[in-house]
């Protein structure tokens, strides 16, 4: 009995690992679960119905494989994309329904591709250094193959062997060979530590598993030379920091998580002995958590090249389903599942749906203040996320002090964004791109992505001498990263992070300490931004790209009402229309705007050498590629040792529906710098209702206790940790 069971077990596992079909992403167990579950879980039923609709529409139309011609968004591009979605859908529906018409469809389309593929040269729209054959870039070819592998797996047993041979030898082997080794560039990508490499290895590995070809799967796992110096497993070591941060930033973390998680699930099914989800202290599950943390109100942060992406994107649905399947104790994921209302029709999807509907108590996903360290050792800076709470309208600050982030990185060391009340308040431009809209530069990153979006001045950080960090040279920028001095989120009242960048400008030093304070003196949490600059540059510019409409500028300005000119000529400045400039003889200015039903005020210290500018993006944009966003910009002339001290404060209520306005004025009456030296910076905040707050932050964490003392109004204060927040009692 024992041996019989064991034999069965061996047979079963061996079967799954090696040659069972389907056994790649969907398995017979999953198929059975789905069959018995349909009709029970409304959201899963809807996902199934959506997929079936794709398959049914595919069956009802003629199979068309156009000669490759267009770039992203163009007809032939979208058609070949649609084809793999259709095959994928039909393959799954075949498995679940048993209806052979779906399998026939996949079989026919595969045969047609097997006829077409050998006739193709490189794609004619050569805008990529790694062109594909069906698509303008090899990346899309890999994505095609990832999806089609799953479809092929679903109909494998249905297709007569002689047809399979035709398909494999004319389509899948040539395509896998092309992706892994089609030309020196493709070979490089396949063996590169980059998300394109992940798609490439996943594609080759997945078709390898379906075809039972150990050569392909080993190449995918361990690199072309199978020496483990490249390949999927090595990518897990290199592309994520120990915290699970993906070096290109959240937008590409979202994109990369798709092949990472999908291929990992395949490996788990086919080679469970690799324990891929436990690998490197469960790095993939950490990566999913970090991706979810890198969001506000269900939208992924704009950092580096980024466009709008929500939790509803299919890749995050994949990631969440697979993450749950491989760690069913993580029921906080149900909060995300609830937002998504969508499942992948797969073993992972049905497992998630079943558990989701069973669970009565759905805890909120816990968004935390955290530091995501960058670099494979976690030593190359990082991104800090500071939140005032867990609700969708809580304040959320991001502070970017990472390494460059490969080709999608921006030159924006120490830049910040702020979200509040459900919306972006201080924003990052993201990428200049109209993905998949062919008339917009073929759907690629537009020229303005480099000339504007990547440049320092496009971000909420300091630019010196109108030159971007590292002079916007990626090979230089990639060698350095900021140093995070400390990050302290332990207190409910004060959360702060401090980092130094010494390499962006040789000989200059940028040091920013940004804090979120919660205090009864203010209605909402406020930001204290202390940006210390040490430089011999002529100008230091610090813009705040505010979302919303200007309410009051708080300084005398001259507006360019009858003529607009660009602020500069290069490194992003050529794209800024200078709408107004002004000065003040006050020690600080207050700039207010309204966004949604709340007001915001920036209060910032000024002196004789401070100029204030109001800018709008859009100059030197011949093709209307830019969004016309606005900023208030501080320019400090001959800064030498200058410290920008700013408070960003949400306040009041603007209810246009009830026509009620409350508190449009800042609660801050004055802002003053009390101490500012290499050990500490101390500021004094006086509120309209007569309260005084002292706030001190440490500039040199290794300073001794005695050095961390200061005198204010004749009284001695000392900092114990990295900060001091003190309400001053009026005498």
């Amino acid at each position: 009995m024992k041996s019989k069971l064991f034999a069965l077990f061996v047979l079963m596992t061996g079967f799954v690992q090696a040659s069972m079909h389907p056994g790649l992403f969907l398995t017979p167990k999953g198929v059975k679960e789905i069959r018995t579950s349909l009709g029970k879980y409304p959201a899963f039923d809807k996902s199934y119905a959506d997929l079936k609709k794709i398959a049914d529409e595919a069956l009802a139309s003629t199979i068309v494989l156009p000669q490759p011609l267009d770039g992203g968004g163009g007809y032939t591009h979208e058609k070949h994309k649609k084809n793999y979605y259709e095959m994928n859908a039909a393959g799954i529906i075949y498995q679940v329904s048993g209806d052979k018409r779906y399998a026939q469809f996949v079989s026919k389309m595969l045969m047609a591709y097997a006829d077409l593929y050998p006739t193709l040269g490189l794609h004619p729209a050569v805008k990529s250094s790694t062109p594909g054959k069906l698509f303008w870039q090899a990346l899309n070819e890999a994505v095609w193959l990832v999806h089609t592998s799953m479809a092929y797996d679903c109909v494998y047993d249905f297709i007569p062997e002689i047809y399979r041979k035709h398909i494999e030898s004319n389509l899948f082997y040539p395509m896998a060979e092309f992706i892994a080794n089609g030309n020196p560039e493709n070979y490089k990508v396949f063996n590169k530590m980059h998300n394109h490499g992940t798609w490439a290895t996943a594609a080759v590995g997945m078709i390898g598993y379906v075809m039972g070809d150990k050569n392909l799967t080993d190449m995918a796992l361990y690199g072309s030379k199978k020496d483990r110096n490249t390949g999927f497993i090595r990518q897990l070591d290199f592309l994520f920091s120990p915290d699970g941060y993906f070096t290109e930033g959240p937008y590409y973390q979202r994109y990369a998580i798709w092949p990472f998680m999908t291929f990992a699930q395949v490996i788990e099914n086919k080679q469970p002995e690799l324990k891929i989800f436990a690998y490197r202290d469960s790095i993939l599950l950490k990566a999913v958590d970090m991706l979810l943390q890198s969001s506000y109100n269900g939208e992924i942060f704009y950092l580096n090249d980024a466009l709008t992406k929500t939790f509803k994107t299919q890749e995050i649905v994949y990631a969440v389903n697979i993450a749950f399947k491989n760690n069913p104790s993580n029921n906080a994921l149900f909060d995300i599942v609830n937002r998504q209302g969508d499942f992948v029709i797969s073993d992972a999807g049905i497992a998630t749906a079943k558990a989701f509907y069973k669970e009565k108590n759905k805890p909120f996903y816990s968004y935390k203040s955290l530091l995501m360290r960058d670099g494979k050792e976690g030593t190359e800076g990082g991104i800090a996320i500071i939140r005032s709470g867990n609700s969708p309208d809580a304040s959320c600050l991001t502070f970017k002090a990472t390494s460059h982030g490969l080709s999608h990185g921006h030159y924006d060391k120490l830049s910040i964004t702020l979200h509040d009340n459900g919306a972006p308040i201080l924003s990052d431009y993201g990428a200049a791109r109209f993905l998949n809209i062919e008339p917009k530069y073929g759907g690629h990153y537009t020229r303005e992505n480099y000339s504007w979006a990547m440049q320092t001045i496009a971000h909420n950080t300091v630019t010196l001498n109108e030159q971007s960090h590292f002079n916007a040279k990626i090979d230089v920028s990639s060698q350095f990263h900021p140093e995070i001095l400390y990050a302290d989120f332990g207190s409910d009242q004060v959360q702060l992070v401090s980092a130094i960048e010494k390499n962006a400008y040789p000989g200059s030093r940028l040091h920013r300490t940004i804090s979120m304070l919660r205090h009864a003196a203010f209605e909402f949490p406020v930001l204290i931004d202390i940006f210390r600059v040490k430089t011999d540059a002529q100008t230091a510019d610090l813009p705040f790209y505010y979302q919303g409409h200007l309410v009051s500028a708080g300084f005398d300005y001259i507006k360019n009402t009858t003529q607009l000119k660009p602020l500069g000529t290069q490194q992003g400045y050529q794209h800024l229309w200078l709408e107004a400039r002004g000065k003040t003889n006050q020690p600080f200015v207050q700039f207010s705007w309204v966004k949604g039903n709340r007001f915001y005020t920036l209060t910032t210290l000024t002196n004789d050498s401070t100029e204030l500018m109001l800018t709008r993006v859009g100059a030197n944009d011949p093709d209307f590629n830019l969004r016309n966003e606005t900023a208030v910009m501080l320019r400090q002339y001959r800064p030498a040792r200058h410290t920008f001290v700013s408070v960003i404060e949400p306040h009041g209520l603007y209810d246009i529906s009830k026509e009620v306005t409350v508190g449009y004025k800042s609660n801050l009456k004055s802002l003053r710098k009390v101490v500012d030296n290499d050990t500490m910076t101390v500021v004094e905040l006086s509120t309209q209702v007569g309260k005084k707050l002292l706030y001190a932050v440490v500039n040199n964490p290794s300073a001794t206790a005695t050095q961390r003392q200061f005198v204010y109004n004749g009284i001695n204060y000392s900092l114990k940790g990295n900060y001091l927040l003190q309400l001053i009692t009026q005498k």
Copy 2:
């Protein structure tokens, strides 16, 4: 028995009508209903809890009556507003809960107002020609009194008579007197056919009913002289057209509906014999329907001076509750109630809530294509609304051919807007105003409201010689209105409206026929815009203010990339930055943009004398009061007899989440004018897939049958009604 019942009836009705308290808006019957209903209807409970929260917070804080000082949005303004909301809330909660602390609060605050009011002169912030005492304009004083009357009614019996005397003689009588007759301007407003007059008469009438003063109520109903030439009833004759259209437009219809419906409910309670809701063929109920029809996706149209207002505003909650109470058969209102999720705590509110929760089948509110005639006789033009269907994402066109619309009217005869897919596509700027934000010109209409928002060039209609209609003179514009030739919404395939404006430019003639076509040749309904101009002007400008991002311009243009200048110097042109201008040697151009997940293309006929401009709002705006919206503008030089023929076509899908793009190209391959004379205009539309459509519209409805014939490709066609839509079979 009979006589006893009758006596009781007389007693009851007499009591209600004359001196029962509360008996104004809330009655003992309503109070009882509310008491027994609490806990049963979640949305009603929430409304009650919201109101109770206002009352409780009021009770917990000190009563403050600041010396009037600020304009709208300022502290003293908002405080006096808050005070009436608090009294109103506390009064109602007192009635429902019986808790005397609420009544005490109202009593105390009224006593304080009675002390303050006699000491007040005119409000110091004199930006209005009709200043108030508590507020910068008498209008707000009337709104204060409308709310406070209800509060006083609720606590009337609680307040000792001697206190009541103090309150009435020092506060209510002087205030009523001030509103009705405080100075010549107030007298004028009280007797004016204008929404300010409605608030004034409602305020005086309502406090009159509470105090049982027939002199005041008669003045309110029949005018200061009680001769029925002015007053509330006369307003019902004058301010609405027979269709229920309010002459100032939907935004002010929304605002006016509040005192209209509230005071009407009071009259119904106090003088039911007037049958106010049946008056003039139920004009008030019609007005509520027209207000609801004047919306897209729950937002009121921007026409004339307008800001964003949704169905959730309290005034529309009042209107819908009262409309239902007085016509309980209209259960389509439940669709609106469902969107609102809010009720007025009153007889009307509880009646609506009870019925709403009882009804299982909640039909959709039926949004229809319709013509709302303007003018008290319905003879002064009107607004046409054409819809492709009843769903929230259906296409919806507005066509404005009304009279001027009093002081809030814009100079935009024959202008259009288009909504589609849930959002504005071709938009109306609305008003240049930041309501209740004091730093923005005191919350008033800004200077740019006249210099920009009202001017013709700010609208999707034709401007001749860079001069607004009627040279932007209200006294001239108010004398005229366009003539609606026909409006035909009978067919599912073709809906159209045609109007002529002969007076906007003496000697010139503007004639626009706008159609919504649904045809299998197009994915979505398309607009055909035929705008005929007969003039000796040098230029005819037709802008389309598009919402979204430019995809392709379809003509060679020179973009002003390093310098922007205003397009003109006056009548709105000074506010337009000229971003690009171009010409074409093609017979038509196609201009595409993307909004949400859909593409839109304007295809328009061009010739040698057509120039195309791309503009952005924002020049000559010293105080940052304008929104920077974009337009594509057709300029026809020396138009003489020119016909602008344009097709506006929604198409394709832009799904950024799934990264799928379909159909970014227009389905229209070419556009051609076949016939264009005083009898008809015929255009030919050729689609990408080779279909040809002929579309003909009548320009002269009184033409004879034989005149309505034309020849196309040797074949005779004739129009029977106002149009012909014909699919041409290919030979």
